[in-house]
């Protein structure tokens, strides 16, 4: 402890000896308990360094004797969560798709699980509410490219469409214009014919008979004689009100000219079977399921 000999006459107290322009600093010692607490805190800090991760090193850090890590805590929590979910997810995996929908408890579980996983994995393309976007199907409606039964939905989720997986759905809209199969005027004509299939107005002076002929020669292989589509090859129904890319003339012309081949990735191997099952039930329950 420093001895303070300088005495301030006015206050009757010693000063620290520091002086600024004639103003001196009174010596005001801290309370004993404060000082003790302060020193204890320093001791505590040393203990902390030893017990917990504290100092950065060149590659890494001192891990402390407890080897505490919040990431490890998280891993434990997640493992516990899986354990808690375990039995229920096993029950989900064991039940058939149809039975899951019939059992209120399993349905609720599948929908809850499905919704979460959908948000993590599917929402970037299909939207968080599965309402889709141009080129990405709306999963709430009743129009399905590859089929809307529980089994078909699960099939599509597992293996995708044009995903490269061996069991993937295959088939695509050909680029009739780019490939030179159809001339520009023919494409305009067939586009108007396609519009007429679902009752949309056609361009004045368009030749319906010619359109029907071009359609019959080129499109019916996949889309069917009546244009009702074919889920085996993912050919959409052209007679309904739902259009994946748009129903205006320009869009249809673009589709016929350049073709379309949207990709749905395969999720088998990336998500476990019971989760895929839950997602199939979730998508089916959105409203459009057959």
């Amino acid at each position: 402890m420093t001895e303070h000999s300088d005495f301030d006459q006015i206050s009757g107290r010693t000063t620290t000896g520091h002086e600024w322009d004639g103003i001196k600093e009174l010596n005001t010692p801290l309370p004993r308990w404060w000082v003790i607490t302060f020193y204890l805190c320093i001791v505590w800090a040393f203990g902390y360094w030893i017990v917990y991760p504290a100092w950065p090193l060149v590659s890494g850090y001192t891990s402390g004797v407890l080897h505490y890590s919040s990431r490890a805590d998280l891993a434990v929590e997640l493992a516990n969560l899986e354990k808690i979910r375990g039995d229920k997810m096993v029950a989900l995996g064991a039940a058939s798709l149809a039975d899951i929908e019939k059992d209120p408890a399993l349905l609720a579980l599948a929908r809850a699980r499905g919704k979460t996983v959908f948000g993590d994995n599917c929402a970037p393309c299909h939207g968080s509410g599965a309402a889709g976007a141009k080129g990405f199907p709306n999963l709430n409606d009743d129009d399905w490219l590859w089929g809307g039964t529980l089994e078909q939905i699960m099939q599509t989720i597992q293996f995708g469409a044009r995903s490269g997986h061996a069991k993937s759905h295959e088939g695509q809209m050909l680029a009739f214009g780019k490939d030179g199969t159809l001339k520009k005027e023919e494409i305009v004509t067939v586009a108007n014919y396609v519009r007429s299939l679902s009752g949309l107005p056609t361009r004045p002076g368009y030749d319906a008979a010619a359109g029907a002929k071009i359609f019959a020669d080129n499109c019916t292989v996949c889309h069917g004689d009546a244009g009702k589509g074919n889920q085996e090859v993912g050919a959409p129904n052209l007679t309904d009100k739902i259009w994946l890319y748009g129903s205006d003339e320009a869009t249809i012309i673009e589709t016929v000219t350049n073709g379309r081949a949207g990709v749905m990735p395969a999720w088998v191997g990336r998500l476990d079977p019971s989760t895929i099952k839950a997602m199939a039930v979730y998508v089916h329950s959105l409203g459009g399921g057959k």
Binding site: R111, D143, D240, I242, G287
Partner: protein, 487 residues
């Protein structure tokens, strides 16, 4: 006029202690009307508290059979024939309002009836004093024994040990009874005895044992004087007509010893009835002198009335020198008029009317409350879906509540746009136009309901839609409204 005081001349009391030390109170035993009332109320209150969890009530299979039960894990509160769900806590609000108004009414009629007779602090402190008196003797003996603290003999040590053991047992039983309200009582008692009860039960018993032991054994009147806000509040709720425990100074003053009073009265001079025997002080559980007038520390338990009456009977004077009275009557008697008691007056009438009104509202709400309910939440994303045939579909999350103790068959109808069809996900109803589901007892069920309507492109953007759920058996109906939206 007071002369202003310079700061340098002000007197400061720097040397006194920071707080006042507790003066230990040694209430003397007493007998009389109010003591009997207090014993009776204590027996009643403690009896209800300790035994109520064991009362059974048949609610059918699968439901708890305890008459009063707060079932936290399942979020249910049972009170005999009433079962409340968490969203119905407003009944407790009503109950609290009635309780507060009743407290006000009691206050405006008979002062601190709550403090003196019914407050748990009073009841348990009274019980602890009874134990203390039984083991250590009455006031004088206890004072003598405490004074001789330095020379602790084995006998005294045994006495103290016994007292604290009994106190702790009462306290433990108090905590024990508390946890029984949150669990099936007989089961929990068995578990507690065999040390298989959940840790939480032991922790709560420990906490409440500690609070009971400390509050009733040590803090006692300190709780009433320093901790409790009620003595402060009640002063605002009393008025000049309220009957409070009062020393009738018109009769008592001037205090004179018995002999001197006889002498004075023989000479035709006046002498008060109070003989300054300090019995009212000796029996007081908060250690005050009621003759100083109404005061914050007085819990108005009426024991000084009993003490004074005993003395007055002994010396052949009229009883109730201390009694339930007010200043108005003291002044009337001093003026030679008869006392007036007005229990019915605007204040008490208003309180009674308010109690009746709140009670009636609660009763009405309770009797007409719906035991079947429905809540509807419209899908937000997407709000509407156009189907391949051009019709529009809206999806709703419908939550059904069945507050009855049995399963029910519920039909769901939707009134809204023309020709709507309704589908409940996961339910293949035998009646496709009117989906029916089985709603499990005492639970809520969430359904995903798809409502489809054949709407033109130019249909209204938003059409009101009403969900009606009907109990097929009882005919009970509940409904909720929302909107049907077009894309």
């Amino acid at each position: 006029m007071n002369k202003p005081v310079l700061p340098t001349e002000m007197e400061y009391d720097d040397n006194g202690p920071l707080y006042v030390a507790q003066k230990k109170v040694y209430p003397q035993s007493v007998s009389g009307t109010f003591r009997r009332i207090k014993w009776g109320l204590m027996a009643f209150c403690l009896g209800v508290y300790y035994l109520l969890p064991f009362v059974r009530w048949n609610r059918g299979l699968g439901a708890p059979s305890q008459a009063v039960l707060i079932d936290l894990p399942n979020s249910r509160f049972y009170f005999f024939f009433i079962e409340l769900w968490p969203q119905e806590v407003y009944y407790f609000t009503g109950l609290l309002i009635v309780a507060a108004l009743t407290l006000f009414l009691m206050n405006s009629m008979g002062g601190r009836i709550w403090c003196g007779y019914l407050c748990p602090q009073t009841v348990w402190t009274d019980l602890f004093y009874a134990v203390e008196r039984l083991i250590e003797g009455d006031r004088r003996e206890r004072m003598r024994k405490d004074a001789a603290r330095g020379t602790l003999k084995l006998e005294r040590f045994a006495e103290i040990t016994l007292k604290h053991s009994i106190w702790l047992m009462i306290a433990w039983w108090t905590g024990g009874a508390w946890v029984l309200y949150f669990n099936d009582a007989p089961t929990l008692v068995k578990q507690l005895v065999t040390f298989q009860a959940p840790m939480l039960a032991y922790i709560w018993i420990g906490i409440l044992t500690a609070t009971t032991y400390v509050l009733a054994g040590f803090l006692r009147e300190q709780v009433c004087v320093y901790m409790c806000p009620w003595p402060r509040i009640q002063a605002a709720l009393t008025d000049e007509w309220a009957l409070n425990v009062t020393y009738k100074y018109d009769r008592g003053e001037k205090r004179t010893s018995l002999k001197k009073a006889i002498e004075l009265r023989a000479h035709g001079e006046t002498a008060g009835d109070c003989i300054d025997c300090y019995q009212c002080v000796a029996v007081c559980p908060t250690g005050i002198d009621i003759r100083n007038g109404p005061q914050l520390d007085c819990i108005q338990c009426g024991l000084c009335i009993d003490a004074c009456d005993t003395v007055m009977k002994k010396i052949g004077r009229e009883t109730r020198l201390i009694g339930y009275d007010n200043d108005i009557n003291i002044h009337r008697r001093q003026a030679g008029k008869p006392p007036v008691y007005r229990l019915v007056r605007p204040r008490t009438i208003v309180y009674s009317a308010m109690i009746a009104a709140v009670g009636a509202v609660m009763l009405y709400a309770m009797l007409t409350r719906s035991l079947l309910d429905v809540n509807v939440l419209h899908d937000r994303n997407p709000v509407a879906v156009r189907l391949s045939d051009g019709s529009v579909r809206n999806a709703f999350t419908v939550r059904l509540l069945n507050k009855r103790g049995f399963d029910r068959v519920i039909a769901i109808d939707v009134d809204g746009p023309a020709n709507v069809t309704v589908h409940v996900v996961g339910v293949d109803s035998v009646t496709p136009d009117r989906p029916m589901i089985i709603l499990a007892r005492d639970t809520t069920t969430e359904l995903r309901v798809l409502v489809t309507a054949p709407l033109e492109e130019n249909a209204e953007k938003s059409i009101p839609v009403k969900f009606r759920v009907t109990d097929i058996g009882l005919g009970e109906v509940a409904s909720a409204t929302d909107h049907f939206v077009t894309p």
